[in-house]
């Protein structure tokens, strides 16, 4: 459903992505792995229209979307839960979730809100609370719930386990699996390699601006090159 061909992107003279090729099929969980600062978030933001690619093509549901406006990309069902959560701290939890359907699935807002609260019951107890007062884990849930409110066809999760306690991380990965089981295709950007490969079908490993490794998760777990990429051995 998503095809990336020869994608280039960066910041001014700083070229971060240098020719990425990627395929995502409907129903998959695909992990994108890579060390700090290698360009994972840059890739997400380019897919979502926040950064203009300098070259290459992105084809989403058969349409070219490289360089399209972010609101158009959201409207078509490609939605991300960003790094750092980016929730609206001055709005209530409920308002945050409501804005998740600002551009898409507005009509199903009530139904989707119920669904999200079943996935994240802790948010249900805090609907009227200012989102900025939530704990880190709760904020991550809120950001994820907000993403789901738009009925994504593809949900990109950028480091959902960052800053969570080990127990919360387990909970998060369990939830990602459940969300996927309900038909949402997922791109999981993570540094938590072992756990990500545990739930992903396939994975890409980003290194020096290109995907150095890719393949089924089960194969990559055992691949010595992955260890090398991560530990620099």
């Amino acid at each position: 459903m998503l095809a990336v061909d020869g994608l280039h992107a960066g910041y001014g003279a700083l070229r971060i992505l240098r020719g990425l090729d990627m395929r995502i099929e409907r129903g998959e969980i695909v992990a994108v792995l890579g060390a700090n600062g290698v360009g994972k978030t840059t890739l997400n933001n380019t897919l979502c229209g926040l950064i203009r690619p300098t070259g290459g093509a992105i084809t989403w549901l058969g349409e070219p979307i490289a360089g399209a406006r972010p609101e158009r990309i959201v409207a078509s069902g490609l939605i991300q839960v960003p790094e750092g959560r980016r929730i609206f701290p001055n709005l209530t939890v409920r308002e945050n979730l409501e804005l998740g359907s600002y551009r898409r699935a507005r009509r199903n807002r009530d139904r989707n809100l119920e669904r999200v609260l079943i996935w994240f019951p802790r948010l249900g107890e805090r609907l009227r609370q200012q989102a900025g007062t939530l704990s880190g884990g709760e904020q991550q849930m809120l950001a994820t719930g907000r993403g789901l409110m738009g009925e994504p066809q593809l949900l990109i999760l950028d480091e959902p386990s960052l800053g969570l306690s080990p127990r919360m991380v387990d909970e998060m990965f369990g939830l990602i699996r459940r969300i996927n089981a309900e038909g949402v295709t997922i791109v999981l950007v993570e540094q938590n390699v072992v756990q990500s490969l545990g739930i992903a079908h396939r994975a890409y490993v980003l290194e020096n601006g290109v995907f150095a490794l890719s393949g089924p998760a089960a194969q990559l777990v055992a691949d010595p090159r992955l260890k090398q990429a991560y530990l620099g051995l």
């Binding site: 979502c48 959560r85 980016r86 609206f88 600002y102």
Partner: protein, 292 residues
């Protein structure tokens, strides 16, 4: 005289009716500041343009300002929207300091255009109801001032409903604090910037229509109001909408009382005294949030 509670109430109420206009002008300024994070230096000039628009609608078209507001508020919304989206934003290249300079430039252009087209003559309109006084118990108030106060309160309520009950209002608040997050849910930040600028301009047009029956127009009429509006916004807390409204009303009362104590012409001294005191002792204002 100063110990007479009826007299004090009368002064306070008169102050509120003047403060209503300050509140509206400040609300527009606070909205634009709160969302775009810039001081709109063209705010006073926009008020001046709206006053001239209402003035000419009355003198040339015979349209009462209270009727004209139905056209001027939406008209100025569109004007403000286009101004931000197609003039201010493109010229500024997304830099806040540039935005500041562009609004300053616009205000110079507007002011001089007004001076050139309409000269520095002080203009007033004559409406019969300006001399109509309504007895409110403690004092009699000129009808237009009562209308202004009522309208300001109504706008306050409408504004609150817009901000808390509609997606547009929530999006405006979202953009004010978390632009990237807003983009991620598919909010067009450029659109929301322009809508906020448009709303701020529309409120100014409303203030102009409420003001004209008891006031005058000159090309520089906006300055006094913008200075007070700026004080109001600082007093209420930069970007706080409720703070701007309450601050405006309060400043009207302060001005009324210092007018009684120091003489009419010195009434505004009280306002600037407060401005300085707030900056000294509570620089974030009474409703503002400390910036992390």
């Amino acid at each position: 005289m100063l110990a007479d509670p009826v007299f004090l109430l009368a002064v306070a109420f008169n102050g509120l009716t003047v403060g209503a206009i300050y509140a509206l002008v400040a609300l527009g300024l606070a909205l634009i500041y709160g969302v775009l994070h810039i001081i709109n230096f063209a705010h006073g000039s926009l008020l001046m343009l709206a006053l001239y628009a209402a003035f000419f609608l009355f003198t040339l078209g015979g349209v009462d300002p209270y009727v004209a507001v139905l056209a001027l508020a939406p008209g100025f919304f569109v004007f403000g929207y286009l101004l931000q989206r197609f003039v201010i934003a493109p010229i500024s290249f997304g830099r806040d300091t540039n935005v500041l300079l562009v609004t300053l430039g616009l205000s110079i252009i507007f002011d001089n255009l007004a001076l050139y087209l309409w000269t520095s003559t002080t203009r007033t309109i004559n409406v019969p109801y300006a001399q109509t006084y309504v007895d409110i118990g403690v004092t009699a108030v000129a009808l237009p001032r009562l209308v202004a106060l009522g309208a300001a309160l109504l706008v306050g309520v409408a504004f609150w409903l817009l901000m808390t009950r509609t997606d547009l209002g929530k999006a405006i608040r979202a953009v004010a604090r978390e632009r990237q997050g807003a983009r991620i849910v598919g909010i067009s930040v450029e659109h929301i910037f322009a809508v906020s600028f448009g709303l701020g301009t529309a409120v100014v047009a409303l203030a102009a229509c409420l003001l004209l029956p008891t006031f005058y127009v000159t090309p520089t009429v906006g300055y006094a109001f913008v200075l007070i509006a700026f004080t109001t916004v600082v007093l209420g807390g930069m970007g706080s909408f409720i703070g701007a409204l309450l601050g405006g009303l309060l400043l009207g009362v302060v001005e009324a009382f210092s007018g009684v104590l120091l003489g009419e012409s010195l009434g505004q001294i009280g306002i600037f005294l407060i401005f300085i005191l707030v900056l000294l002792f509570r620089p974030t204002g009474f409703f503002g949030q400390r910036v992390a």
